[in-house]
Amino acid sequence: MTLATSPQTRKGDFDLQKLANICCERMATEFTKSGKILAPIPLPIMEIIHEAESVVTIWLQVPAELAAAYKPGQFFMCWNPYDAEGGMGRTNFNSEKPYSVGDIKIDRTGIDETTAADEGNVGNTLMGFTIKDLGRQSGELTRMSKGDWLALRGPFGTTFPTPTSGSTLVLVSGGIGSTPMHMMAREARNKLGNRVKIHAIMGFRNSSEAHYVPRMEGLCDSLTITTDDGTQGIHGYPTQPLEELLQGLDSDNCTLLTCGPEPMMKPVLEMAVTAGIDCYAAMERYLPCAIAVCGLCMVGNRLTCRQGPVMEGDWLLQQSDFGQHHG
């Protein structure tokens, strides 16, 4: 068996699962010590799944306690150490960028279910990052392969408020903003079962980019899809069905969460504020360092990496630099 440093130079006979276990243990030690992963730790990609046109999910094996500590809205910095364009003195692009966790699953393949309970064998925890090819770095990530390294540090940032029993959640996503909305729906359903109502609206440019629809269908009381070009669901933006949805809801005990491009989130938050509904947005800004040193992630007088990405809707609406497109 070979555990070569670079995925490109690995021999065909190397044991991916063994490598994943070792890296996962290493991450667990670091997580126990610091409560988060401070320096990037590379993990081998266990699986990479096509979700939709230019959208993939990268699955990584992580310590169960790290996955359990992750809260929807938070992000990890994801870095391919063998980024083709990375290296000394190169500017104008970033090879490490923030991504929210999109999904978490337990892999029980190879486990003998008859003895698993006695042996305390709960399987491997996998964390999925769902990535849309929007540019240089995300494009690079979507073209990675099983066995390649993806280094993570995190989790960083703020989370959405915890839903309470008897409450209603309205989740509005645009494009790849689907990831934190799915994690929120998943957590709320896991914790509260049918004691929470979940209504989701997912906007996409067209049907071929639509992803996470089956996942959300299984979790939500209602799910509405919109596409800019009408190729799936309602023809238009998420704001159209939102108007109708909000009219039928009791604003008490209702919370709206949104994630997507700022030009979409702004009208969504305005509608929620008008309807008297508590609302929060997960901001997708450029976060070069994620640890409050570069100062390049300001929204209003806040640092997105530290005081975000989840921020209160009414506060965001007062910021003049909120609502435009950002890279």
Partner: protein, 316 residues
């Protein structure tokens, strides 16, 4: 209660806690945010002749306990856009404007523009270990002759005080401090980051996008203290001109500040600690420092300045 105010050339500070250059301080919004904290003053991001983009990430990480590694690549908006920003903004705290440039003429030119835009003092970043991308040559701050050339050029160009920011990556920092002060610098700031490198054994390559990096954070504090003491002792012995020292390197607590003041510093700068406590760290440090001084009976900074040097008089 202990009096924390201190005056150094160009800056009247309500307390000795300045933001260190390069941490959060590159834009108006970020500088206002830091100014709203309990810091005594600001040091801007180092500003160069033209805008520079940030290096490929990871640009800054906590590598292990107390070790911060960075290679940001001196991202900055450039002097034109920064002076425009200065003209449009009034900050609630005094600001030392940090500048750098590829040659002495360009730095002198930037200095002039900063003075015209209202800067009351400048810090000349001579010491960034990664200021010349791709270059393996020595940096300016490692060459006393070049330090003199840079400082003289800037002092000729402006009337406001100039601080020389020194690198720890030399054999004897008092030589560089001496060169800067003899050329007319009004004070010295030290230390900049310690030249460093970290490799991930699994990936088999450095963990910072730029490969080489600079180290800061609590782990470098003893190194910084050694360097500050060396300069302060050289001043005491009259080997180099006496001038205020702005000390930094790994400060996270009020006691750390006391340590540097006792080694002769007039004021301190705080950078990496913002990773742990963001801008709220200034209030924590200020409270700790006040409490310490009250308990120990130091009425002001002057009363404890340099006292730790007394036991080291004979040191070289």
């Amino acid at each position: 209660m202990a009096e924390l105010g201190v005056e150094v050339p160009g800056l009247a500070l309500a307390n000795p806690l300045l933001l260190a250059s390069g941490v959060q301080g590159g834009t108006a919004a970020a500088l206002h945010r830091v100014a709203a904290s309990r810091c005594g003053g600001l040091v801007s991001k180092s500003i160069g002749p033209v805008a520079r983009e940030i290096y490929p990430g990871p640009v800054c990480v906590e590598a292990t306990d107390s070790v911060v590694l960075n290679a940001m690549g001196l991202p900055n908006p450039g002097v034109e856009s920064f002076t425009e920003m200065m003209n449009e903004n009034n900050f609630s705290k005094p600001m030392l404007v940090s500048i750098f440039g590829p040659d002495s003429q360009s730095v002198a030119d930037i200095a002039k523009k900063m003075e015209a835009a209202g800067a009351t003092a400048l810090e000349l970043n001579l010491s960034c270990p990664h200021s010349k991308p791709g270059s393996r040559a020595l940096i300016i701050g490692q060459q006393p002759e070049l330090i003199k050339e840079y400082i003289s050029a800037v002092k000729q160009a402006v009337g406001i005080p100039v601080y020389a920011k020194l690198t720890p990556n030399t054999a004897q920092v008092s030589l560089e401090a001496g060169a800067a002060l003899e050329a007319g610098a009004d004070g010295v700031s030290l230390i900049n980051t310690v030249s460093a490198l970290e490799v991930d054994p699994y990936a088999g390559r450095p963990i910072i996008g730029n490969l080489l990096c600079g180290m800061s954070g609590p782990a470098i504090r003893p190194i910084a203290q050694r360097k500050v003491a060396e300069v302060a002792l050289a001043m005491r012995r009259g080997e180099i001109p006496t001038a205020p020292i702005l000390a930094m390197g790994g400060i996270t607590t009020g006691l750390d500040v006391a340590r540097f003041i006792m080694l002769g510093a007039s004021a301190v700068q705080i950078g990496s600690a913002l990773i742990y406590g963001d801008v709220d760290i200034f209030e924590e440090i200020e409270n700790e420092l006040t409490e310490f001084m009250d308990v120990q009976g130091y009425p002001n900074l002057e009363s404890m300045r340099g006292i730790a040097l007394d036991s080291m008089e004979g040191l070289n």
